[in-house]
């Protein structure tokens, strides 16, 4: 692991590490060729998505009545929100199980999670056929309380646009504090304690609601019954979908932290990454254990190990999860950034494969039709992902998202272009101390 000299700063006993707080990226251009490429992809996707306003679904997609759900639902929502479950997984570890050194990477998880959810939900808005009837969501007497779809269609927007938004609000307030005028600061000094008051109560919702809808995503597929291959179709699917969300949440946060910190030359923090890798390996083991018990109890073990097409897919998917589960038990693997990155990537692919396969490859309706996403469908799906990636790059450049050493903080970072009082002022901790949020 890249070694850095710890600063002389003495922090709280559980908070000693190289990553001390969120620090924005302050150097280097924002609009790199890669970002231009992403902007191109998102422009193409958004342009096609805009056409969808004037067109029915048919000409746009390869969906048909046997495969009624295309990749916007099955990939952008049902699969990618697993990667966006970092706030859930890390939040529960940090706040419920008191892993205090994970607080410093919460912002990375929160921003990526918010972007995954938001882009997925927008994609969903283009996928549903009669969106003008969606106002029923606020009329409880219309709710069909036994429908997993209802739970998802209400809880997902609620989580993303209320609870996750509340959790990332301090990012904006903090920026406002630095770039705003005295009036804004006075307001924030008054307002920030209110956020701290509400925070422990609101984050309960921020964990209970994703626990509900991440398991309901698996619950959705229970009604598909025999259409899904028996290796995947199981009453344990809600639980497995939830564990897979935690797995992907940890794995993707590690992956993202490593990629972005290496890209921007940030020092890494062995303690935090070690902790995350440990948790990831534990969740991987839990996932495989539940999977094995479930297959055994349903008597489908012979199907799973029959070594035919579906069985090989199952074995491949399990191997993708088993490898990090075993490898991350070894300290040397956890402490080598390259191998940690590889293992986190494998776990991401394995977890998302489990979430994606029951809705795609293992989804076999009796009618002999086939579905492959059409070009506009693929471009729009890629467009939303690119929008999320651009959003993340802007966020780490303009807000204190990525973890870093507090001494590298420079509050004159990338102002939006208007002059502000703090700009050019010398680094003064007393100013920061006054900061709220």
């Amino acid at each position: 692991m890249t070694s850095t000299q710890p600063t002389s700063d003495k922090r709280g006993t559980t908070l000693i590490n190289h990553w001390q707080s969120g620090v924005p990226v302050t150097h280097g251009p924002i609009l790199t060729p890669f970002v231009f490429f992403l902007l191109g992809v998102s422009a193409l996707g958004l342009g096609l998505a805009a056409l969808r306003f004037f067109s029915p679904l048919g000409p746009f997609s390869g969906m048909n009545d046997a495969y009624a759900w295309g990749i916007w639902k099955t990939f952008n929502v049902m699969t990618l929100t697993a990667l966006g479950s970092g706030p859930l997984a890390l939040g529960i570890a940090a706040w419920v199980f008191n892993r205090q050194n994970l607080h410093v990477v919460m912002r990375t998880a929160l921003v990526s999670g918010f972007l995954f959810y938001a882009t997925g939900l927008v994609a969903l808005g283009f996928d549903i056929g009669r969106p003008w009837n969606f106002y029923s969501a606020i009329l409880p007497w219309r709710w069909n309380s036994e429908s997993a779809m209802l739970e998802i269609s209400i809880c997902m927007p609620l989580y993303c646009f209320v609870f996750l938004s509340f959790e990332i609000l301090p990012l904006f307030l903090e920026r406002l504090y630095y770039t705003g005028n005295d009036k804004a600061r006075a307001f924030l000094r008054h307002f920030s304690p209110m956020i701290r008051k509400a925070y422990p109560f609101l984050i309960i919702g921020a964990y209970v609601i994703p626990l509900m809808h991440q398991s309901s995503l698996g619950g959705l597929l229970l009604l598909a019954g025999t259409k899904i291959n028996p290796i995947w179709q199981s009453p344990a699917m809600p639980l497995l979908y939830l564990i897979a969300a935690g797995l992907c949440g940890f794995a993707f946060t590690i992956f993202l932290l490593l990629i972005v910190c290496l890209r921007y030359g940030r020092a890494l923090d062995a303690d935090v990454l070690n902790e995350l890798a440990n948790l990831l390996s534990g969740v991987c083991v839990a996932f495989l254990a539940v999977r094995l018990v479930d297959l055994t109890m349903r008597g489908e073990l012979h199907t799973a190990f029959a070594l035919n097409g579906m069985s090989l897919i199952f074995l491949f998917e399990s191997a993708l999860i088993l490898t990090p589960a075993v490898a991350l038990r070894f300290r040397r693997v956890r402490e080598t950034p390259r191998s940690l990155l590889n293992m986190a990537a494998l776990a991401c692919v394995g977890g998302t494969a489990y979430r994606f396969i029951p809705t795609s490859i293992a989804y076999m309706p009796p009618h002999s039709t086939r579905y492959f996403p059409s070009a506009p469908e693929l471009f729009i799906a890629a467009g939303w992902i690119a929008v999320g990636m651009v959003g993340f790059i802007l966020a780490i450049n303009y807000f204190a998202v990525l973890p870093g050493e507090a001494s590298t903080w420079d509050h004159t970072f990338r102002p939006f272009g208007w002059p502000h009082k703090a700009a050019g002022a010398a680094y003064a901790p007393s100013v920061i101390l006054e900061r709220g949020a």
């Binding site: 969106p131 209802l150 009604l223 259409k227």
Partner: protein, 314 residues
Amino acid sequence: MSVALSRRQAFKVMVGLGGTVATGLLPKTAAAEEEHPAHPVAPADAIAMLYDSTVCTGCKACMPACNEANGLPADTLLSGGIWDMPTGLNAQTKNIIELYQDPKSDEFAFVKKQCMHCLDPACVTGCPFGSLKKSDWGAVTWNSSLCIGCRYCEVACPFEVPQFEWKSWNPQIVKCEFCYDQRLKKDLEPACTAACPTGAVIFGKRVDLLAKAKDRIATAPGKYFEERVYGEHEAGGTQVLYLSSVSFQKIGLPKLGTTSIGHYATKVTSHIYKWLSGPIAVSGVLGFFIRRNWNRHELERLEHEKQSGFPDQL
């Protein structure tokens, strides 16, 4: 880890846990009947269709009758604009006669496809805002003003009946509704059974038709496949019953268990979500630990802010 609990805190936790457990248990004892029993019993007034594949001559008289009653345009794509020639149930076809032919032997059979009007329909269980519902006499009907077009019904239906208008800007879910609005409410039988000249498909009360079907099996032993009525127990029972001399799977009726799919999907979640007791219990437990860790975190934060001058970030 040892938990430092004050007496008051411990009392609060006990009250909270007790309350949530009670909310989970009490309504269950009060409401004796299950929402989705594994083997639903048809109500006495349940109507049904009985289709006997051995009687059907494949005249397809029921298809234009259905189109006329439901105001559906003819699907003339395949015939070059001349006749109604659908290749399966689709956005313009709620009812179809299909031919099964064995390429090797001369075995053949017709089969009529339309909504099976399950006793416990998976589409109704899944429909988020109750657009699909079990109406009077057990007809499964669709309400355009509640449907959001999520197409969960198409994923849920084991018979692949609901069809979505992919080509329409204002897409509807097209499925047989037992001619509920068109004819049932006017005390008329559905258009297809009224039009059938051979009596291959007949309309009546489910109990009567089930008895009639079993009568036919009993009077002609060996004639009917497996000597049973398809739809009596399939997916918890359906209100369209089939008799056939060839295998049900060969004529395109899926092999299904006898348990209702709604029961399979909701047997665990219905307990967890009953009066939201599960989520409330979980938030009680999480809330307790979050508050405890929050208080610890706050103490630590104030201390190290004082020591280091670095503020804490949320």
